[in-house]
């Protein structure tokens, strides 16, 4: 009888990286469903096409690095990146735009840095920012929500993606754009005079945000991540909005509720900020990291020049993560202060 000799522990918990990733994918479904309901099949086509390109890029990169693609595809991380980028891109984006974005995310932001676990920046957000800087026209054209225009069907969505020249796109400014370009109207008047606004924020946007919030809450319940980073981000964003709300004057940046339910707020808070690889590691570090993103999102939204701010805010915070880590090392057992001897 020959006995195998391995080091302790000999027992293991049931969680696996693949199951974590699969649950994140599942949690995006409510958000995708709501986006599809309000904006048509564009997002769904984005996501599916992004996944195809993503798997191809991952296979290429892993093969070039001399590994077996099967083992790495099984961790589902490339699907998470692709789905998140697909959701973030405007619906009815052309195939090449999505392809460039996914390739930038997977090949550049992930594998050039050493693959899963080694990327300092969130790959989906890198892909998004590459596109936003390179193709601002395509990236800022968002479809009007259900109720303000006819919602394109699946066929039209496919046409928009793969035969973009033959597709006649209908676009409309997003509520965040409307608010930023507002000069002179009180919030109340703006709300009444602009078609895009709904109950608390933009039509469609508010429900999409609530759907992503629901998905995030489920992940929290499943203990896929801790509450620290997302709640710090939402809290900081709401606080900034409250500070500069200005009672709804024409110079106001929008109410806290508006900011919480607009653009990519909830999607960012629960699916981007929680990316463990590129965030700070300790509990205190994640609080700082999340809060930093919340503040940056507000600053860029209100005084910046871009339609939404989550991608830039996250990348800037990614830069800061090692620095945050350095100052937020937890106090270990038997030590009085963080780090070093007591």
């Amino acid at each position: 009888m020959s006995l195998i000799r391995i080091s302790s522990p000999h027992a293991h918990g049931a969680t696996s990286t693949s199951s974590v990733m699969r649950q994140v994918l599942l949690a995006t479904l409510p958000g995708i469903a709501v986006l599809t309901y309000f904006f048509g099949f564009g997002t769904l086509v984005n996501v599916l096409w992004a996944c195809l390109v993503g798997v191809a890029c991952e296979t290429l990169a892993v093969s070039l690095r001399g590994h077996s693609p099967g083992f790495y595809l099984k961790d589902y991380s490339v699907l998470v990146t692709s789905v998140l980028l697909g959701i973030a891109l405007p619906p009815y984006a052309p195939w090449w735009l999505i392809g460039i974005g996914v390739a930038a995310a997977v090949l550049m932001a992930k594998h050039l840095y050493g693959g899963l676990g080694f990327n300092p920046f969130n790959p989906a957000m890198v892909g998004y920012v590459v596109l936003l800087i390179s193709f601002p026209v395509q990236m800022t054209a968002w479809a009007p929500p259900r109720g303000l225009a006819e919602v394109p069907g699946l066929w039209q969505a496919l046409q928009a993606c793969f035969l973009p020249a033959s597709y006649d796109a209908v676009t409309m400014a997003t509520p965040l754009d409307v608010l930023r370009q507002n000069d002179g109207l009180l919030m109340e008047d703006l709300w009444q005079q602009t078609a895009q606004f709904g109950r608390w924020a933009g039509i469609g946007w508010e429900w999409a945000n609530l759907a992503f919030l629901a998905g995030g809450a489920w992940l929290l319940y499943r203990r896929i991540f801790t509450w620290h980073a997302p709640l710090a981000m939402l809290g900081a964003l709401a606080l900034m909005a409250a500070l500069f709300y200005d009672g709804g004057s024409s110079a106001s940046g929008g109410s806290p509720l508006f900011h919480l339910l607009s653009g990519a707020t909830m999607f960012g808070a629960f699916f981007i900020v929680t990316d463990p690889v590129s965030s700070a590691v300790s509990v205190r570090g994640r609080l700082v990291f999340g809060a930093l993103i919340g503040v940056l999102v507000y600053l860029i939204r209100v005084w910046g020049n871009y339609p939404d701010a989550v991608a830039f805010a996250v990348l800037i915070a990614n830069f800061a993560a090692p620095f945050i880590d350095h100052y937020t090392q937890p106090r270990s057992y038997g030590h009085r202060k963080t780090g070093g001897k007591p």
């Binding site: 000799r5 027992a11 293991h12 969680t15 990286t17 057992y333 030590h335």
Partner: protein, 580 residues
Amino acid sequence: MRRVYGFHGGIHPAENKHQSLRSPIRDAGIPPQLTLPLSQHIGAPSRPLVQVGERVLKGQMIAEASGYVSVPLHAPSSGTIAAIEDRPIPHPSGLSAPCIVIDCDGRDEWIEHSGVADFRDCEATELLELIRSAGIAGMGGAGFPAAVKLAGKPGASIRTLIINGTECEPYITADDILMQERATEILEGIAILRHLLRPEDVLLGVEDNKPAAIAALEAAAAGTGVEVVTFPTKYPSGGEKQLIEILTGKQVPSGGLPADIGIVCQNVGTAVAVSDAILRGRPLLSRITTVTGEAVAEPQNFEVLLGTPMQYLLDLAGFRPERCERLVMGGPMMGFTLAGTQVPVVKTSNCLLAPGVTELPAPPPAQSCIRCGLCAEACPASLLPQQLFWFAQGKEFEKLEQHNLFDCIECGACSWVCPSHIPLVQYYRASKAEILLLRRDHERAEQARLRFEARQARIAREEEEREAKRAARKQAAEKRAQLAAAEGGEDPIQAAIERAKAKKAAQQANGDTASPAPAVAPLDALRQKLAKSEQRLAQGREAGEDAKIINALEATVTRLQGKLAEAEADAASATEAETR
């Protein structure tokens, strides 16, 4: 009700304790042969006191402690010493080490022994010596000599005595069943420890998953002042540092000992061993070992003689080798795998786990770390395991130490939760070993540097001293010269030099005059001497001098005549040679 504190992190692995708790403790009996490693504890190995072939009795000391942090070893049964040699021992390395092997005669004949009449009459030092000579090392798993821990630091008073009945590792029930069946003996041991340490509080900590043990302990502890404290089950509550935090809310300072905060912690098994040693004079000869896992038909607890081969114990429990591909001594979280089944049970063998192939499957290949942070949430030492892993891979030793690698207790909670199945603890063990090696190298280099510098300093000092002496001599000579000049006399050095010159000149002059006719001069001189001697002899005869003087003068004349004849012959031959 005493307040119970929590500790950071921890996990809830499947307990799997019920399997081995279905039957009471069973006596494993006397195997044909016992193998007793000389090192079953932390510290220096013990030194054999017996010879091969010698007969030993049960309880006889067969090896003595070889230092302060060391314990003696006793024969667990009577028999003959079969060998003193290297045998495989239960150790993570799988290597062999010196062992005493006893062929048991099955008679189990005791050496004369007795306990103390009343331990309350004994001095602390006396009790400590008895505990030490009974060979007691911590029974919880680490095996630190109990007497050393109890002696503590001089001057440090112990306020709290903690008895550890936590047994948080899955599968193991040795302490559980001991508490159920031998609560009285545990309390006896505690009474002795109390007498020894005189603490204010005595806390007996048990996880709440052992209701039978808690009931038995509470019944035995009633009225003794020993507090049985229960707390929620969570791994690793049984770690010494974690248990101290749970029961007192205090943390042992990093790098320090519990005694630094007035606490001593002992395992329930150690308490029983202490009561056996003091009250019954019985040294540590056996222990309770859990044999469990799907590869044994009847998981249960045995009272095993130290040195019993694992194979013997497995067979008693109905071992099914075809189901077993890994054998673990200790629990599934911190135990280590054994290389074979012939290794013996030692003082620290609390469990022998023979898991089935599907029961504890080998981990799948490790995936990338996604820094999810589950490990940091689980870490009972509040470390950042994902960062430590990162630094360990990069061999960033400074960073590792800055992130308190050495506060890691290797409990395995981080590896257990890791969704990427990374063997984190193994990385930490390897890094610790590397850092310790580097520290030792550094220390050696430092010593070598100090030696070298000391030598350089000595050489420089000696050179300086010589230089100083030379300088002093020179100065003194100059001073003398100055003094002489001042007194009007000539310079002594100059005078010496002139004297030497004059002597040389004189020698040269003498050499010039003494050189001619060397052969003729001795002949003439001899003739003159002979003439003088003949003249002196004639005068003496005339004057009628003493016969002695006349004789001496005659001898001188004869000797001179001989010499002259020789010299003339030489001269004649020399002239002859010249003329030819």
